[in-house]
Symmetry: C2
Subunit: 130 residues, 2 copies
DNA sequence: CAGCATCCTTATCGATACTG
DNA sequence: CAGTATCGATAAGGATGCTG
């Protein structure tokens, strides 16, 4: 896993990538359609969501169900393997949220130890053009 | 967590980022020095490792211990919060590795459903210039 | 609604040189 | 050894227009 040549590295990158983890987490409670997913995973663009879903489908974490009505409908759901991964991701999310007070406190203490200019921290999450 | 404006998103990105997760996982068993870490997290450059460690230190997941000998020595270790996060990450890693046969199988089946050209899959992990 | 193709901007990353 | 600073290549990501 720590080796670059290990095939699990690419799967890990899909699962833990910026969007992969959020998509898997969003699908945890149940199936979602493309735009539902897009609203849930706030900030993701159509292109990136498509890419992410394809990578996750290729790895067998996500299943794509095409419903050929009009307008077109596509439902994404977790496979058993994907669900087991999502379960652990959601546990990580919850744990991380629970630790946020400690994290924010650590960030404040870190900012004081060295004189970082107030704008140099990475608080940026992109422009509001989502 | 799924909202872009939530401060936990940046922490999540550090924890689940390409290198953040591997660094936290590598520090799980015990403290490591900079270059030990660099060897363990195969493929990471000096610059990126520095960046990653600084982000993790800022969030309070990693502690940096400077030992002012000659040559200079720095030991990185997990904080209690970092350890709890790393614990869950390592569980995820192990689970992911256990699922790799299923993942590789899914990738093969996916490649057959649509005629992806054999070289278009993302197997790239960069050149061998480590 | 769901997704592809294209262009273009921006961030990521790696190689190099230098400090302590 | 550990880390900073800078530069150039590359890849990720966003905006737009088009298809079914």
């Amino acid at each position: 896993m720590f080796a670059r040549t290990c095939p699990s590295r690419s799967a890990l990158e899909h699962v833990t990538g910026r969007w992969g983890s959020l998509v898997l987490g969003a699908l945890g409670p149940g199936p979602l359609r493309f735009n539902e997913l897009r609203r849930r995973v706030d900030g993701v663009s159509q292109k990136i969501l498509t890419q992410t879903l394809q990578a996750l489908e290729r790895d067998g974490f996500v299943e794509r169900n095409l419903i050929s009505t009009f307008p077109l409908r596509v439902e994404y759901s977790l496979t058993p393997v994907g669900a087991s991964v999502a379960h652990r991701l959601l546990a990580l999310f919850a744990h991380l949220e629970a630790q946020m007070p400690a994290v924010l406190d650590a960030q404040r203490r870190y900012a004081q130890r060295a004189d970082r200019s107030p704008t140099s921290g990475d608080v940026s999450v992109g422009p509001s053009s989502g």
